[in-house]
Symmetry: C2
Subunit: 198 residues, 2 copies
């Protein structure tokens, strides 16, 4: 889902710069804006009382986020945080709805984009059904590989740290490390100089 920047600006869109680790919005807050990433990377996560995080998604340049809670006017179920210095454009709920009304094709694109997100989240369940760490990690790697269809020919570097894999799968770093080691021994992944290939 990507709305042309010019349209956003016409409807009152304002760009804002975020430093690394800065939050765009936080779990529990009431939504006020629609956000689209101009530059950088935004991570969506929820956390429990002990501070453990579960990463729900990572969005990059051109993608939008926070739409569903905004439309429904329900508090954010998760926090959005810049993982790197970023620039996001934001626009009020009111104007966002004007755009949906004025541009049926954007409305339609949004429907497909939401469908995509539901589909991804269902797939994510596959990661969570897996009872062994190996199953979870493998599902995660598979899901991720499918997202980069150019790369299906050979093993490619996995652009995640062990901690990120842990946050996505709900495992501990140490478990991820030990499991990946085991997986590399049986040839399911390659680890060269600490870098992970799948």
């Amino acid at each position: 889902m990507h709305i042309d920047d010019n349209i956003l600006i016409t409807y009152g869109g304002v760009a804002r710069k975020l430093s690394k680790s800065e939050n765009v919005f936080e779990e529990g807050e009431k939504p006020r804006f629609f956000y689209q990433i101009v530059e950088g990377e935004i991570k969506i996560f929820s956390s429990n009382i002990e501070g453990k995080e579960l990463t729900q998604a990572i969005y990059v340049e051109g993608e939008s986020f926070g739409g569903p809670p905004l439309l429904l006017e329900k508090p954010y179920p998760s926090t959005a945080q810049a993982t790197t210095q970023s620039v996001v454009m934001r626009i009020s709920r009111e104007n966002f709805i004007h755009i949906l009304n004025d541009f049926p094709e954007i409305s339609r694109a949004m429907l497909y984009s939401f469908a995509e997100r539901i589909y991804e989240k269902s797939e994510m369940a596959q990661v969570w059904v897996g009872h062994s760490p190996e199953e979870k990690i493998e599902q995660f790697l598979i899901k991720n590989k499918l997202k980069n269809p150019n790369d299906h020919e050979e093993e490619n570097i996995v652009p995640f740290t062990r901690q990120q894999i842990a946050d996505f799968t709900g495992l501990r770093v140490e478990t991820v490390i030990r499991t990946l080691k085991k997986m590399s021994e049986i040839g399911k992944v390659k680890i060269i100089n600490h870098k992970l290939y799948y």
Copy 2:
């Protein structure tokens, strides 16, 4: 999300009766139809190799399901199964898209319905973040209570079997039973005559 039955019929909708435990579609299949429940209850779940199931959602009369994979033309990530004798109406992808084009208000309602489903799935993550069984079960019960806003005054019966709670939370029945017992001892839930109140 509910489309008027007459509209569905006008666009070639056909009703089909399902016995208990019969599948509407299965994980991996290619979607061909849009489904809406006329009567009964449909459970959506994914399973791993060992046959363990994770329930993703339960839909009832008037609700539709299977939309996202159909729109995206991607294989079903989960299986849909009647939990009780049911009747579902189905309509081809082509005609479903005609409806979306012919009725902008249905298209809009669908967008909000998808937003709702994304929101619910994000909330569901809260269930999975919880590392202790107690945390998971409590999150599940909270989520469920919020869905019945009429019932917020006192403790109400929980309309799920322990097995269903287990399938939703990814725990084992025995663990659910033992945890609920513990929770009833500290007053978080009530168990009267094997029935659960929260």
